[in-house]
């Protein structure tokens, strides 16, 4: 595939992520923060997001396996996940976190368990999509081109 095709593919892919609600305008904010001094800013922040989210999802799984469920602790973790998802523009994950917190407040274990599964699912989808997008960007850069904004 030539450079122009790659660039077009990236723009289309990125646009679809917004249209399908995976990403929102906050992701655009992130991209606008990137500059020559910090050319890898977006990848760095998103990588941190992946690490932190996986940690939180593990904590949530463990917390929901306990004999006595600590809803306050679970809510604290979900609040964190909601915050960071919001900050990078991972809209679907963020919205599910809001639902999750409602179940926590209602101390509804079934609801929490169901939500956790949904959050894990949405998270893995957005992770895959962002990684694909970053890979496309790398291909463009390797081909000597620049990543379209």
């Amino acid at each position: 595939m030539d450079l122009v095709q790659l660039q077009r593919q990236l723009v289309d892919y990125r646009t679809s992520l917004y249209h399908e609600g995976f990403l929102d305008e906050q992701f655009t904010q992130l991209q606008e923060l990137q500059d020559e001094n910090n050319p890898d800013f977006v990848v760095e922040v998103v990588s941190l997001y992946f690490e932190d989210s996986e940690r939180l999802l593990n904590e949530l799984s463990k917390a929901l396996e306990q004999q006595i469920i600590d809803f306050k602790r679970i809510d604290a973790h979900v609040h964190q996940l909601k915050g960071s998802s919001s900050s990078i523009g991972a809209q679907r994950v963020q919205k599910l976190c809001i639902v999750f917190r409602n179940y926590c407040e209602a101390q509804n274990v079934e609801g929490c368990l169901k939500c956790l599964q949904q959050v894990k699912h949405e998270y893995s989808i957005v992770k895959t999509k962002l990684e694909s997008m970053f890979q496309l960007e790398r291909q463009i850069l390797n081909a000597g081109g620049s990543v379209p904004v």
């Binding site: 606008e32 923060l33 964190q80 915050g83 960071s84």
Partner: protein
């Protein structure tokens, strides 16, 4: 926020053209990284702290009061919801300190709760900002900061 009346050489008023030094406090790693970049993009020098206690330590408030000490920072921006001491409690501590009470404090929160907002403003917060922060928010913040000094 006063521009004069201090006998310290480095008071809270920043000369135009200087880089304001901002202390950003947030327990969320991603948010810290983001606010740091936003501030740096607005030509601010940034120090981050992951909770209120670390912030107080950095500011020199720890457990002792420091006589004649000066504020290292020109602005403090803090998240509201933090484990242990909240941003609101941090705000109160800062306003109680003779050394730091003139330093403007901005509170950030992901939740738009009017009583929370008025509580913070009444306690002396300069501004309340909704997360996630955008470049335009920080630009506005810096404009207010510069304006207040003059």
């Amino acid at each position: 926020m006063g521009g004069g009346g201090g006998d310290s050489s480095e008071d809270t008023a920043v000369e135009l053209g200087d880089e304001p030094h901002v202390l950003a406090v947030d327990d969320n790693l991603i948010d810290r990284k983001l606010v740091e970049k936003l501030l740096k993009n607005s030509s601010c020098k940034v120090t981050t702290a992951e909770n209120a206690l670390r912030a107080l330590d950095y500011l020199g408030l720890g457990n002792e009061t420091l006589e004649g000490a000066v504020s290292k920072v020109n602005l403090i921006i803090t998240d509201y919801c933090m484990p242990g001491m909240t941003g609101y409690e941090l705000l109160k501590k800062i306003k109680e300190s003779s050394v730091l009470k003139e330093v403007p404090v901005v509170i950030m929160s992901s939740e738009n709760i009017p009583t929370r907002i008025s509580q913070c403003l009444e306690e002396g917060a300069k501004m309340f900002m909704l997360k996630p922060l955008k470049q335009s928010d920080v630009k506005q913040l810096k404009w207010h900061l510069m304006k207040c000094r003059n």
